[in-house]
Symmetry: C2
Subunit: 171 residues, 2 copies
């Protein structure tokens, strides 16, 4: 699908997002040329938990909700994302089952980028690729710090003196 906004505007939007921050103008141009635009009506499902994913999404407009399966119905809502927020980043570096189902809550326009796009960037623009992957690493690190803090908080509130955020040593 064709871009719904001019390139300068889109580049400005992208560079305001952490994982696209600090990129050279030429790298942003490459990324813009790779992005696909997808529109989703209300209640449509963008990705299903458990599916193998190969693309990440940037919400341009609208709103989506992320759910994870619990033991019963309904599923557990883990996040609500809007313009400028991303999901599925893990899929482009690490092809794995989607960790959540994403449902459109307000009609949404999204830009998507696949692991193939990333590989093309690797081939065509190594410094740009390195910058992007470093940004991604920092973003995952930031989220992991928050997740670990939340897990600790919950254990603390429950009066547990131990919780497990990493696997134990083999012996």
């Amino acid at each position: 699908m064709r871009l719904m906004e001019d390139v300068a505007h889109l580049k400005e939007f992208l560079s305001s997002i952490a994982i696209f921050g600090g990129l050279e103008d030429s790298t942003l141009d490459r990324i813009v040329s790779m992005l696909r635009v997808e529109t989703f009506p209300i209640d449509s499902v963008v990705v299903h938990e458990g599916e193998i994913g190969q693309s990440m999404y940037v919400v341009r407009s609208g709103q989506v909700v992320l759910y994870r399966k619990g033991s019963g119905q309904p599923a557990i809502r883990i996040a609500r994302l809007g313009p400028g927020q991303c999901f599925g980043e893990m899929a482009i570096i690490d092809i794995q089952a989607r960790s959540a189902t994403v449902v459109v809550e307000r009609p949404a326009v999204m830009y998507s980028l696949t692991n193939r796009d990333l590989f093309q960037l690797y081939n065509d623009d190594m410094p740009g690729y390195v910058m992007l992957i470093q940004n991604l690493c920092r973003e995952l690190s930031r989220r992991l710090r928050k997740a670990d803090a939340k897990i600790t908080q919950t254990a603390d509130a429950a009066g547990d003196e131990t919780t497990q955020i990493r696997e134990s040593p083999a012996k």
Copy 2:
């Protein structure tokens, strides 16, 4: 401090660890030449929660425990790590306050790598650097998936239908 084992043995050990996996032999040689060996007696503190960190550690032998502050005493134990496990990886890509205090539970030998070492690798061996940072990204992604699963599980067990693993949209 000098290496306490021969280089071939150390390289074999490193390549068995996810973040050093798949590296070229020449990259492993560079990394080995950068590593510092540190020995820690029982009950010593390797890093303190809240301090600014610039190095990651690989446990070669011994055992350490990671604690996070809770609302009271004692601190909450979040992990126990042994040979072949790492901590502090986030510090070398993202200089931030340490997210846990690490205490030695069994006398430990550790290899450490700093963000400066990483920068030197970037300058001297770009393909090796890219491989390492990709490995790091995958490792963070793997941990984040587990952390998110744990948060969901806890919400599920508590009968909560929502939890928050990401910040909400601005509006």
